[in-house]
Structures are given as C-alpha cells and as structure tokens.
Amino acid sequence: MTAANAASDFQPPAIETRETDAGVAIHLSGDWTLRALCPHLDELRARLTALARDDAHAWDLSAIHRLDNTGALILWKAWGRTFPSSVALRDSHRPVFANWETRQPPHFDEPRRPPSERALATLARPARAAHHHARDWLALLARFLRDVADLLAHPRRIPWREISAIIHLTGVRALPITGILGLLFGVVLAYQAAIHLQAFGADTFVSEMVGFTMVREMGPSMTAIILAGRSGSAITAQIGVMRLTQELDAMKVMGISSSQRILLPRIIGLTIVLPLLSIWVMLLSLSGGALTAHLAIGLDYTHFFSTLPTALPLVNLWIGLAKAALFGAAIAITACHFGLRIEPNTRSLAAETTRSVVAGIALVIIINASATVVLQNIGFKGV
C-alpha cells in the first residue's frame, strides 16, 4: 500500500452546484476535515469564496459526512463569518459551527522575541555581559573558597566519593586520547626542530627544544584545551540538566549544599587531574620526540634523555604543573558558571555549553600568556 492509502480512510470533500427554480443550490459532501481538506485546500477555498459572493445561493451541508473545526472554519471564513441566508445543516454539525460563531479573529499580543534575538541583543552590549560574567564567575570562585574552608573545618564532610568519580571520569578515561595527541605532537615538534637545528649544526639541541616546549608550555596548555572541550562541556551540560530537572532544588530542600556536593568535587577533581594528565602528556611527547630525533637525524636515545636535566632546570616542571592546576580550576569554575546559567529550554543548553568551551579555552590561553610574561626570567639556563 502507498502512503496515501495509509492516511486515507476518508472521502474527499466535494462541491456540487445545481440550478433549480429557486436559484443555485450548492451541495457539499464528503469529509470536511483537516486531513481530507489539506490536499485540495486552495482550490476548494477559491470555489467557496466565489460561490459565497452571491447570497441568494442555497447551501446544503446535510450530505457532509464528517465535519471538524478546520472544515467549519474554512466554510465560516468563506461565508464572511456569518451564516448565509439559506443553509441546511445536520443537527450534529451545528455545535461545530457554534464554536466559531461566538468568536472574533484572534488578536495576539506582540509576539515575544525568540531567544536568538535576545542573544543578539546581549552581544550588542558586550561590555555589560562581560561585566556580569566576571562578577558571577568571581562569586563562584569565592563560594568555592568558602566551601573549601568549611570542609577543612569539617573534614568528615569532604565528598571523597564524588571527587574520585570525577578524577576517574575526567582523568583516567582521558588517558588514551591525551596520550595519542601528546605522542603525535612530540613527533611533529621534534621533526621541525631537527630540520631547522640541523641547518645550524646544532642538532643536539633537539631534546632541549622539545623539553622546554612540552614541559613548560605546550604540555599543560594542550592538555587543558583537550580537557576544556572534553570535560568542560560535560560539566556544563550535566549541571544544566540538573537545574532543568529540579535536581538542584531537590538537593537544596534536603539540606544538602549543592555547591559542596556538585560544584566543589568538579573543581577540585579537575585541579588534581590536569597536572597529572600533563605529566602523562609530557612523558609521551618526549618519547615521541626522542623517537623522531633518532629516526630523522640519528640522535641517540640516551643522549636525548641525558641532556634533559642539565638543559631544563627542574623549576620548569614545577611551573608547568602549577599552571596546569590553575588551568584545571579555571576550566571547572567556568564550566560550572555556564552550567548554572542554563535556562529551562534546550536552546539555552546548547548555547551555554558552547560558550563554556569557548570561554574555557580562551581563559587557558590568557592565563598562559600572563604566566609567560610574569615568569619570563625564571627557569632558563644561567639565570
């Protein structure tokens, strides 16, 4: 059977005109329902309007099989919102017209602007929006610090279980992807370094170059950017849905602090996870670098790793890890901040999740740039 068959268990609506002694009689028959009318609506409406122009015609609707509100409305509008002077109607169809008889065309208030336009208006006032975001973000940070102080005073309330779940989800599960990306990054970096340094006959400096870049700069920020995309979005969406489904309210009325139970474990979890993941990325990218240096310019593995400790003072590792911890906290707070702004509709869920990722990555890059400026004299050889 065809689609038409599946839908058609109706008789098509029909209009017939007959000349009688008294004038023109119009006979309507078939089903005058939404689904039956749809295929021929324009054509029927044009005919009805033309026929209705002459009020002398007699309308006979008694052969109509089924009539619904749409069918009645089409006729009613064709008649100019009043019954023609001569109309024959089945009693069972009379109430359907009664629905329309008492009504005037609707007047809607100025329709509310859809959320996308509201978002545009927000963009037009970026300064104010930025100010609000900064204020709420700092308030969240303050609340986090208060919560930490509170939990240090009552160590038994520390949500260990949630923190370890977050570490597992955002850290352990991210090992494969961060590992692969780190390895590939090390390979590319060492290859570029090897080609250019070889031109100056300085090819033994490949390890120093890869080491500095990965340990102090790219290791932490690359990991942070992956995590902002991977876990930042997850946190925002999860908190958002918790708000939509009133889980946060339910928690509140049970006397459980949602900031301690939901926000704090995520912030602490990411602050712990990011330095650890950074170490993992550093290790793999250095291995990738050593492998490439060996294959590309025949640099010895032992030489690659043995020159690292002298070329790369240990303080660089500490700087890298401290930055990573900072990135973790910033990403988590940003994700929570946007999660709490989600309104109860799916559009807002999508918009805030996007913003959360973009803002998280931007923040990582800004913090990294600031750190580079502030720490410019620390950790280099001979300083």
Binding site: D9, R35, S92, P106, P111
Partner: protein, 258 residues
C-alpha cells in the same frame, strides 16, 4: 471513524526490562470509536503499553497494529502517515521547551504545509479555548506554566491535527476537580463531534466513569479484566476490587461522613 474497523490491536505483547517482565502476553483490541480506559497500579506498565501501541518501543514478543497495520513493517512515509492520524498527550506534557505555547500547537499545523498563518492562528486559538486556556497563554514559554496548564496546553497540541485516535496518559492528574470536569466535558463534546477513538490511562475513577465506555485493567503484567465498566467493577480480582470499591474511590459527601 468506521465502527467496524480496528484502531489498535495488540497480540501476545511481552516486554522485559532486564529480568523484570512488565507485560506477559497482553491481547487487546480497540475498535474504532471506542473510549477505552487503561487502569493499573503505578509502575504496572501502562505508559509502556502506550509506547508500544505507538511503535515508540518494540516489545520482546508480540505484535502491535495501528489501524490494522504493523508499524515496524512499513516504510518511514507510511509510518508517518499512520502516526499523523494519532494525537498523544504524554504523561509529562513533552512540550517543546524552545517554543512558546502558540508555536507548540501551531507546529504540527504548519508541518502540513497547506494552511495559511491566519487560519492557523484561528485554529490555535480555538484549541486553546477548547482546553479552557486564555489566548494570552499562547505567548508564554512552557516553563512559565503551572503543572495543570502544561497538561491542558499539551492536550491542545494533541488535538491540533484533529486526530482519529487519541492517546491520553493521565490527562486529569494535576488538574483541580473543576478543571478535570471541564476536561471530561471537552473530550465528550469532541467525541460527539468527531467520533475519534480514545485510549486513556487514568487513576481518576470519576472521569473514567463519565468518559469511557470500556475499561482494561493491567495488573501483574496481564489484563486481569476487560469490558464495560459495570462488568469490570464486578470482577473479584483484588486490584480491581480496591481500585473501584476501595475507600478512595467513593465520592466525599459531608452528610455521610462518620
């Protein structure tokens, strides 16, 4: 709808969730024009059975037919055409949260691609009026409505396409008694005008009494009783007994109270 057609037919439906069987072999036939009430305890699988009827969920065993057609075996277009003839009021409303109430109701009408905006506006207002919602509610977003208003807006949307088969999942829960009575009036009037078939899940004995001509009782994964309401009330099954003759189904009357 023709009275000797079959709107819904279930045969040997068996549903498991994990190791828990929710339905163990359910047979049910709803002829065209009938108003069937599906009752049963909370968690007995009524909503799940509606989802099976609509083809939203495939049972482990058994077949479900809508208008004599097994949905799974049809092409997407045919499935769509069949579903177009149904209106569904979901238990939680399932209004589109991004659209205001007006657009929620107008969406299926616009989808038909045959009506002009003026006609759609009049139809939407008519639907709002039918469920006793003010026209101004049209410009509100779903989260700005109370629980009972959500129910009524969702009913208006279910009625938007003038369905031949109406599925209602607990339509009167969350309504005050007056609104529930209005709801019964609305449905009765619509049924008189349009002669649709109706399958309604309900816990409300009063509206069931006024609205439905057949009752099916779901308990322990089976239909323990099925028939006209007077006949079902006589059943000796303990759930049926408690449901229809327990203390909570008696109307409250000041004089009779001890």
């Amino acid at each position: 709808m023709n009275r000797n057609t079959t709107a819904v037919e279930l045969a040997g439906i068996w549903t498991d969730f994990g190791d828990r069987a929710v339905h163990r072999g359910i047979d049910l036939r709803v002829p065209g024009g009938q108003k069937l009430a599906l009752v049963g305890g909370s968690g007995s699988g009524k909503t799940t059975l509606l989802r099976i009827m609509l083809g939203l969920l495939a049972p482990q065993q058994g077949t479900a037919r809508l208008f004599g057609r097994e949905l799974e075996t049809l092409s997407d277009d045919d499935q769509q055409a069949i579903r177009n003839r149904c209106g569904v009021l979901f238990q939680g409303g399932a209004l589109f949260t991004d659209l205001n109430i007006y657009d929620n109701i107008a969406l299926p009408l616009r989808e038909l691609d045959a009506l002009d905006e003026d006609t759609i506006a009049e139809l939407v207002c008519m639907k709002l009026l039918m469920v006793r919602l003010d026209e101004r509610v049209g410009s509100l977003m779903p989260f700005e409505l109370s629980g009972g208003m959500v129910k009524r807006a969702a009913l208006a949307r279910a009625l938007a396409l003038e369905p031949e088969l109406l599925f209602l999942d607990e339509p009167t829960s969350g309504l005050d008694p007056l609104a529930a009575e209005n709801f019964v009036d609305v449905i009765n009037r619509l049924h008189r005008d349009l002669r649709f078939t109706m399958v309604m899940v309900t816990h409300d004995v009063h509206s069931l009494h006024d609205l439905c001509d057949q009752v099916a009782v779901l308990a322990d994964g089976e239909l323990v009783a099925h028939g006209p309401i007077d006949q079902v009330i006589e059943s000796e099954h303990s759930f049926v007994h408690h449901f229809f003759r327990g203390g909570r189904s008696r109307p409250i009357s000041g004089a009779g109270a001890p």
